[in-house]
């Protein structure tokens, strides 16, 4: 059964289009998805995810379960960067500032990885709750704060603290981070789905529900191209310790999330999603925040790891594993 799951994930059109993009980029094909088009698709995907989650939430009552889960998610997003920082400093010899910035990415989440997991769960016939989208939204931002805290020491060493960037422009930073596009669209669509409920959704589902998987294919083709190009350009800046981190860190995060799931006693599907969220790394919201708050850190390091190593790993091998973990932990 576990092999079956892995195979059906690996051979789904979504993953295959990702692999197509990856290969094309590694073979240095000049093919591209126009940036404006890809960003429009990303917007569509986030709206669709938010709406679906909101409609689900409108059908059920949100009990203390949800509150506890949200709390755990907050703790994970805030806490995992500290662990990641330690791991990076011990195994890769990365300097403080780069390690802090990279660590921030692993506390936050990748919404596409989340979506791929929901698709795989649906395929496997395992049900999940709509409010998990809200949990994902909760995990986007806290990790950025951890990264900034972790970087303080490195900045002090360099004598760079107290300069304009971190001092007077804090307001702007907070606004850009809290109101970044993914948070606004995800939370906004969630609320709209919640308010309008099943009735409002009916008229727009031919656009937001039916073609969803197909759009995902097109988007993942672009992700594959990006991951492949990032990898080709960035791997030289990474030593083995750092590259390894891109694979073992998701596994550590997954184990920790597993522990929380056991304590919370949630359903197998929700457990799989929480584990996936913990194991995934950001490549949209956090890099943008880091260029603003920690310009001294190198994008070629953190983007290569998160988009070039961790994302492909999660999409192919990680997700089936996290689903099995979710089933196993809730079956104990």
């Amino acid at each position: 059964m576990s092999l079956d799951l892995a195979l059906s994930t690996l051979l789904s059109p979504i993953v295959l289009f990702f692999v197509l993009g990856l290969i094309a980029a590694l073979l240095r094909s000049q093919m591209t998805v126009p940036e404006a088009f890809a960003k429009g698709l990303a917007l569509y995907l986030m709206m669709a995810i938010g709406l679906k989650g909101g409609v689900e939430m409108s059908k059920a009552v949100l009990g203390p379960d949800f509150i506890f889960l949200a709390l755990i998610a907050l703790i994970l997003s805030f806490g995992l960067p500290f662990l990641a920082y330690l791991a990076l400093r011990l195994t890769s010899g990365m300097d403080r500032i780069n390690a802090a910035a990279t660590a921030g990415h692993y506390g936050s989440i990748s919404i596409v990885t989340y979506v791929a997991a929901t698709q795989a769960l649906q395929l496997a016939g395992i049900s999940t709750s709509g409010y998990m989208v809200a949990i994902a939204a909760v995990m986007e931002v806290p990790a950025i704060m951890s990264a900034l805290m972790l970087a303080r020491k490195g900045l002090k060493e360099k004598g760079a603290i107290g300069e304009g960037a971190i001092g007077s422009e804090r307001g702007e930073l907070v606004r850009e981070v809290m109101l970044n596009a993914s948070v606004v669209v995800l939370v906004g669509a969630l609320l709209i789905g919640w308010i309008t409920g099943e009735a409002g959704m009916e008229k727009i589902s031919p656009f937001f529900v039916d073609p969803f998987q197909g759009v995902l294919c097109l988007f993942l083709l672009d992700m594959g191209l990006s991951a492949g190009r990032g990898l080709r350009q960035g791997w030289r800046d990474l030593n083995v310790g750092a590259l390894g981190f891109g694979v073992y860190m998701p596994l550590i995060s997954a184990m920790i999330a597993c522990g929380f799931c056991y304590v919370l006693n949630i359903s197998a599907g929700n457990a799989a999603l929480l584990i996936t969220l913990a194991a995934s790394a950001s490549y949209i919201a956090v890099p943008a925040a880091m260029r603003l708050a920690l310009p001294q850190a190198q994008p070629s390091i953190y983007l290569t790891l998160s988009l070039g190593v961790t994302f492909p790993f999660n999409l192919t091998l990680g997700i089936p594993l996290y689903i099995l973990l979710g089933q196993w932990i809730t079956g104990l």
């Binding site: 998805v33 960037a165 702007e172 350009q233 310009p295």
Partner: protein, 106 residues
Amino acid sequence: MFDKKRLELIIEKPAFKRACRILEGCGVTGYSALPCMAGFSLGESGNGRRWQRGTDISASGDMVLIISIMDVALIDAVTQKLEVLIGMHIGVLSVSDVQVIRKDKF
């Protein structure tokens, strides 16, 4: 025609608004920004790094070109302030001489 200075700043997008704020703070009468699509930098290691729009979904690696025509009297203050910025952020600054027809516009 009157002599003015043309400042050209190539800067990473996340620092774009900071650069604008500095320019406005110095009292320049205007500027225009254009999107870059690709670039290259030899770097200190001498390794060479290329970037290209569309490689990075977060677009945080994109560069912006800012052009500002300004009075000769202003240029020193502006470059000094921008020097601090490109000390922190990725960026390239250059200044050249230009002639304009409307003296008081700049």
